[in-house]
Symmetry: C2
Subunit: 211 residues, 2 copies
């Protein structure tokens, strides 16, 4: 069984974690564990959903794949300064096949020192923050640099997960997983690409009217 | 505040619930509650993730929006025969603005009697099951029939959620939410549409090699 560890923390963005989980966990060849600082519930950044950590970082010594989702302040800020977490990330990374992040999870990988000199994707609002970890922002939906795979914001974790399925399980099984998820997306507004749609007024709405 | 109730049950498909949650919960004008048979954790169908029910159906008398996600057997089968749940769905539906489902959640709405004579979307593998509830399958990504909005399988709940945001919050705010989720999907394999890609060998892989 391929062992996949997804890190959960208080303040997490639910879709960042569930997006890649949904594809990877469909295969009978994969075992996904949700790992956190301590066993028990964490809440999303908006507090509306509780997700359960099943294993503590103290009890997980290796994983074939590590996925670090993102979130917003203050939970993200805690993860960025949590040196025990960074030590754990480096330990898992030392023996992983793939070390991955979704959204602002790239900043956590960066804070652990894993993105120095690498290209990485992250949420469009966080792109300037990568520089302080020695990483270069990539506007790609999913960016690969060595064994490091990072995705753009929130929903991009679905594309990351399926891309990982292709690599870990083969193209045919990954195609079947994409079909089983009926992943034939139809964005109702067509405004999801920040290169084209993060214009002044709309950025203001994101900053002032959303959580 | 707009009150949104998302029903959770043991055996749920995580993305079915988290897809619409992620868009709706970004607005400061929306309060999302996770409602279930009893307060406490439920597990996904593959057992790999625990999600927390915060409110019992006994304590929730109304919601502006009801969303029923899907799942696989045996959890789905329990929901299909749970007459207390069906009574609760009818009570919430009686005063809701929108009553919605994702994936095989349409079958639960059907079992509660809410889709009689209506068109509905569901997961492609469940399309024939709608008939026993008097509903007609629609291949649409999101199908609207009166105040009933149903989506296709799993990932289609993201499109449902954003469509609901447009209706409940206005187009401009929904555009900003789609941008904040960076929802510019790029399916790696292009096999998510069952009308074109649910071919013999691939259906066999879905049935025999996935959970």
């Amino acid at each position: 069984m391929l062992q996949v560890a997804i890190y959960l923390f208080d303040g997490i963005t639910a879709l960042d974690a569930v997006g890649p989980f949904e594809s990877l966990s469909r295969s009978r060849e994969v075992e996904v564990s949700f790992v956190g600082r301590q066993v028990g519930p964490v809440r999303t950044g908006n507090r509306a959903l509780g997700l359960i950590v099943d294993r503590s970082i103290n009890d997980v010594d290796r994983a074939d794949v590590l996925i670090v989702p993102g979130g917003g302040a203050p939970g993200l800020n805690e993860a960025l300064t949590d040196t025990d977490l960074h030590t754990w990330i480096r330990k898992i990374d030392a023996a992983s096949r793939l070390t991955c992040s979704v959204c602002t999870g790239a900043l956590i990988l960066g804070a652990a020192g894993q993105l120095e000199g690498r290209r990485a994707s992250t949420h469009w609002r966080a792109k300037h923050a990568l520089a302080r970890f020695g990483a270069t922002y990539s506007a790609g939906r999913v960016t690969r640099d060595g064994k490091y795979m990072t995705s753009a914001g929130v929903s991009a974790g679905i594309d990351l997960g399926l891309t990982m399925c292709g690599e870990l399980l083969g193209t045919e099984l990954a195609e079947a997983i994409e079909l089983s998820m009926q992943y034939d997306p139809s964005p109702p507004f067509g405004t999801g690409n920040p290169e084209h749609h993060a214009t002044g007024e709309r950025i203001g709405m994101v900053e002032n009217r959303l959580r």
